[in-house]
Amino acid sequence: MFITFALITLLGALGMLLQKNVVVAGLCMVAAFFGVAGLFVLLANPVAAALQIIVYTGAIMVLVLFVIMMLNSHEEEAGAARPVQRWLSLALIAVLAFAAVKLVLASAGLNALAVKGAEMPQAMTLQKVGTTLFADHLLGFEVAGLVLLAAMIGAVALTKRNL
């Protein structure tokens, strides 16, 4: 089950990376988001999975696809591949991989966490999330609300025709 969802996620992401057609790339992205939602379910977190579907595939991807259709710019990306950027990204990924593997192998705490996690069968509930959010992280919650308001006003102001 884990392998299935991981494959859906990675193939969707790779499809988005390699696909020239923007609409198809957007649909690949939806597949990747669904895969991540499945991984959230496997991590005993149905709350995050539901939010992932609602926020990412329900709101963000619909917005992106709407803009793709509205701009009608499905043209192929012109010119040859960007060799410098390609090598730069590969080098960056190699450095990150080296650091990540080294960190994971060196960390005793991580292995302890993995053992500890195996002993916790209970799933995350919405009640627990809400209690934590409003009791311990109220400031973050308020800041997120403020940022969303600013983003909403900014988006409306930016797309206004006679700015």
Binding site: L10, A13, A32, V36, A97, L113, V147
Partner: protein, 100 residues
């Protein structure tokens, strides 16, 4: 039970694909989607650690990250639409007015 290291590996691969997309692709919309992918990878890590650590804080932060991702994509798409109106393109290579 999903092992923590496997989830971390998946999340790392997602983040790598996001980085490669941001650097390689030229379409501003695809670049925005790749940034979303990287945020998603971070969310996956938050959820995995919340699960294995038994704390709810990771889940709360993942929720906040989702909110910020929504705000980011709204402003980003508004910029792309404004750019398309003015320059009639969404290819970042064509937008080089500030290039030295």
């Amino acid at each position: 039970m999903v092992s923590l290291n496997a989830v971390l590996l998946i999340s790392f691969l997602l983040f790598s694909i996001g980085i490669a997309g941001v650097l390689i692709r030229r379409n501003a919309l695809i670049i925005l989607m790749c940034v979303e992918l990287m945020l998603n990878a971070a969310n996956l890590n938050f959820i995995a650690f919340a699960r294995h650590n038994g704390s709810v804080a990771g889940q709360a932060f993942a929720l906040l990250v989702m909110g910020f991702a929504a705000a980011e994509v709204a402003v980003g798409l508004a910029l792309v639409v404004a750019l398309y109106r003015r320059r009639d393109t969404v290819q970042v290579d064509d937008i080089n007015l500030l290039k030295g």
